[in-house]
Amino acid sequence: MEIANIVDKCPGTVKEVIIGATKDEGGTRGKSITVGGSNCIPFMDFDGSPGHKPAIAMDVYDIPPEEWPEPLMKHYADVVDNPANWAKKCVEFGADLICLKLDGIHPDKKNISASETVSTVKSILEAVDIPLIIWGCENDERDNEILPKVSEATKGERCLIGSVTQDNYKTITAVCLADGHNLITQAPVDINIGKQINILVADLGFPTDRIVMFQTTGALGYGIEYCYSIHERARIAALSGDRQMSFPIICDVGHEAWRSKESKARDDEVPQWGSFADRGKMWEAITATTLMQSGVDIIRMNHPEAVSIVKKHIENLT
């Protein structure tokens, strides 16, 4: 006797967000990337459409990272002071998107000016043709000063820009709205605040098919379970029809994984932990694949081999 499959259909669907614009669409990208679109529990494609595959965004910093351990740094040593070349390298490593992190604009770091930042952004746009994420330094004053300039300079490119928080969202939301970019809304591992910031930007008239949520990320051993369950709750809310939660989710795996003691400790410090050369990238890969199960749509990563492990894993699952 044949037993019919029981399909667990969800009433809600995660919105699709398109990042990057091709020439036809008014930008200069070779192609755009669409994320989201799922209407089933992650990878349970027998229940519904799993939507678009998770995309890998590789980080490029506007200043050389200070604390990267050698096993990570060795892949970028020749490009860390040239963001455009760095971005090219990421494309070779298989990045779907470039995430330009503007740490250098922070007043405690280099306090880099708006014009210098704009030229960095432009150099990357010229060097590579994949879509761009532009992420501020999390200093409200500087972000509000620099990001509007960057937004204006990249008008038409349909970048993903962020992040905005409950306490600082108006300026950045307004410029992204005007310049046609997508927006990252950030909350501190808090389902309510996550929802509230989405409502606040929607109140300003920001289109809901241009929002990506960020709940901050904890690496394996550093709070990944909180982060996992917040993603899971957000996704289940979205699938249950909560329109204020039905947005793709981004997570920051690379930066968090490479901050961990396990990625940084050298062989002579902890010989029993296994090879220093492998530990960090495995930490990053495992953090990424774990969070993928929670339903994330964009994963920020650093190590080329971790990226290829994760990409292979995605192929296997879909």
Partner: protein, 651 residues
């Protein structure tokens, strides 16, 4: 303090009172000794900064403090609880720190000289006072009818009242005077009968007919205010009423602080005396004003929260604040009022209405009786907003209740220019799209602060006009001078200095808004969780009664707009004022009502929120305007989105 330490004279103005205190006492201590009220929310811990006074002469030993602005320091302001006395002083208590007058706004429904017959009828309670005076004409004894005096009286009462002999009781003192009293007016006597549980007691026997001079007092012992209402028992007429601030406030503004104070200082007696004195003062004012005599007051019915009743009766309140939160008694038998020092007829009875738990008191059981929750067919909500927010859901078959620590924000406490609903309190606020503010203050005098209904209007109107966003954050980009940064905090100027009755502007600060949002969030979370826990939805709730001391008036729509009350048609929400007092009055005038309070108290199930994980989640979602789950507020969503189209700008 050593015995031979110096003492100093402290002269308080404008009260013009002088007290002598020991060196090292604080100015706040001195004010307590002088029986002068000074605002103090933290009870003297140096935290709240409300006890600002002006040092007109003398020197104090005071640390530098962040609680005073530079401007205030220049004007010789000091924090009374932190100022150690080291010389004779003259202290001026400024307007904002004073408890101006003693007049507190009474219930609007309170119309004097009106009988309560209609109210009782409407509530379907039979008028049958708890303590009655009945006039009896006894047959004089003869050789054939040689029944003893006492039994003769019993028989007459039985005939008139239809009660059984074995449930009557007479005190020794009555027996002693009985023969003389019976014969004094030729066998015409008036007996005062009162219920003590199942027993009918002969409280007093007087010669002649005095049955038309029987008075009772209903009191509501609130954490903040004490209200007393004098009623004529026979006619059910409301003779007069009066209110004072609870003078226990000097020991801490909320009752948990007072419990701590009482325990730490072994001051339970002092606390009891304080509340009893308030009640005696109220009664003596009522008695004098209406030219009646104390002896004619035969009963008092008291409603109040569990802690206040403990203080009133001198019961140990300590375990109320500690897990598992156990009161000494919920059901307190009637006692003679004089036993705790309340001056009425020396044999008059004090009936304290019953509580449900440590945090759901007689104010709630009394309130539920007042609205006749026990007669409702459909699920009905009673929300009483005081220092705690209590919520009761139920109908004639079941009742559940819970208490949410909403905090006293809507009573004006912990809000920079918050105040209680007294003269000079702004009770209505309207803000235009151009950020112009119009308002109405109680008593039509220059405003001195904002009371609960005004604060509620303020949040709703600031949201509508785009001064704050849904998080309650000020929108820094708006074009008005009213929004400004002072002492590192944003504030919105509601009333300019020249228009107020205090020597200052009236503002609302970012911290005030956060405080009010937390408070309304706690209330809404309790309401929604209670409804959900019964497997109901808001549409199943037939009617919402909103009680509390907001003021005369409450804009129900604004309470929905800010998400304090669930989104439902305003016609299903009724603002009912002080239901605690209403219930106490009913209980005094109707034995049936008194019994109803008892049965409601034993019927109510207490639902604990404090240990409830879900409550915390509900509370967090409710900390938004109106709520994080906008779907729960469709009408607000519609209202705001139509407004929102008009505002969009940058910060």
């Amino acid at each position: 303090m050593s015995e031979n330490s110096n003492t100093y004279k402290i002269h308080f103005l404008p009260n013009d009172k002088i007290v002598e205190v020991n060196e090292g006492s604080t100015v706040l201590d001195a004010a307590h000794n002088a029986n002068i009220y000074i605002n103090s929310i933290c009870g003297g811990d140096g935290i709240c900064g409300k006890c600002k006074v002006i040092l007109s002469s003398g020197t104090v030993d005071a640390p530098t403090t962040k609680l005073l602005s530079d401007e205030e320091v220049d004007k010789d302001y000091i924090i009374a609880c932190e100022a150690g006395i080291i010389s004779d002083l003259q202290i001026l208590i400024p307007h904002e720190t004073r408890l101006e007058g003693k007049k507190i706004l009474l219930d609007q429904n309170e119309q004097h000289s009106m009988t309560w017959k209609a109210t009782l009828d409407q509530a379907n309670f039979k008028h049958d006072a708890l303590v009655k005076k009945i006039c009896l004409k006894l047959e004089p004894p003869t050789m054939d009818d040689n029944v003893a005096d006492h039994e003769r009286l019993y028989q007459a009462i039985m005939m008139k009242q239809g009660v059984e002999l074995n449930v009557m009781q007479t005190g020794y003192r009555i027996l002693k005077k009985l023969p003389e009293v019976l014969r004094q007016e030729d066998w015409t006597v008036t007996v005062t009968l009162g219920h003590r549980g199942k027993i009918l007691e002969i409280i007093d026997v007087q010669p002649g007919d005095t049955s038309n001079t029987n008075y009772g007092v209903a009191i509501d012992v609130g954490t903040t205010t004490v209200v007393a209402c004098l009623l004529e028992m026979e006619t059910s007429k409301v003779v007069d009423s009066e209110a004072v601030y609870n003078t226990q406030m000097k020991f801490g503004e909320d009752y948990i602080q007072r419990i701590i104070y009482a325990i730490q200082n072994e001051a339970l007696d002092k606390m009891q005396r304080s509340i009893v004195t308030d009640i005696n003062n109220l009664i003596s004012t009522l008695v004098k004003r209406n030219s009646i005599i104390l002896d004619d007051i035969t009963a008092i019915v008291s409603a109040g929260n569990t802690t206040m009743h403990h203080f009133l009766l001198g019961l140990d309140p300590e375990r109320i604040r500690k897990e598992p939160y156990i009161p000494t008694a919920n059901f307190i038998p009637p006692i003679r009022a004089i036993q705790i020092g309340i001056n009425i007829n020396s044999r008059g009875l004090l009936y304290t209405l019953p509580s449900v738990s440590a945090y759901v008191g007689a104010d709630i059981t009394s309130g539920a009786t007042a609205i006749r929750l026990d007669k409702e067919e459909m699920p009905t909500l009673l929300i009483d907003i005081g220092t705690n927010g209590e919520v009761v859901l139920g109908n004639k078959e079941w009742m559940v209740c819970c208490s949410a620590s909403a905090g006293p924000a809507f009573e004006g406490s912990g809000i920079k220019h918050g105040m209680r609903a007294a003269k000079g309190a702004i009770e209505i606020i309207h803000i235009t799209k151009e950020f112009e503010v119009s308002y109405s203050a109680i008593g039509d005098i220059p405003p001195r602060g904002i009371c609960g209904s005004g604060l509620l209007d303020c949040i709703a109107e600031m949201l509508r006009s785009g001064i704050i966003d849904r998080s309650g954050n000020f929108q820094k980009g708006i074009k008005t001078d009213r929004l400004r940064k002072k002492d590192d905090e944003f504030e919105f100027v509601l009333i300019n200095k020249e228009d107020t009755g205090i020597d200052n502007e009236i503002v609302i600060t970012q911290a005030d808004i956060a405080n009010l949002i937390r408070s309304k969030g706690a209330i809404y979370a309790a309401v929604s969780l209670l409804i959900e826990s019964m497997g109901l939805g808001i549409n199943d709730v037939h009617c919402v009664y909103l009680a509390g001391g907001f003021g005369n008036y409450l804009n129900v729509r604004n309470a929905i707009t800010i998400g304090m009350l669930p989104d439902m048609p305003s016609s299903r929400i009724k603002f009912v004022g002080n239901t605690s007092l209403t219930g106490a009055k009913m209980a005094l005038l109707s034995e049936e009502a008194f019994e109803t309070v008892q049965s409601i108290a034993s019927q109510m199930t207490y639902f604990d929120l404090m240990g409830n994980q879900k409550y915390m989640e509900e509370f967090m979602s409710a900390n938004f305007l109106p709520h994080t789950n906008l779907d729960e507020f469709p009408s607000v969503l519609e209202e705001l989105s139509s407004l929102n189209k008009k505002f969009s700008g940058t910060n």
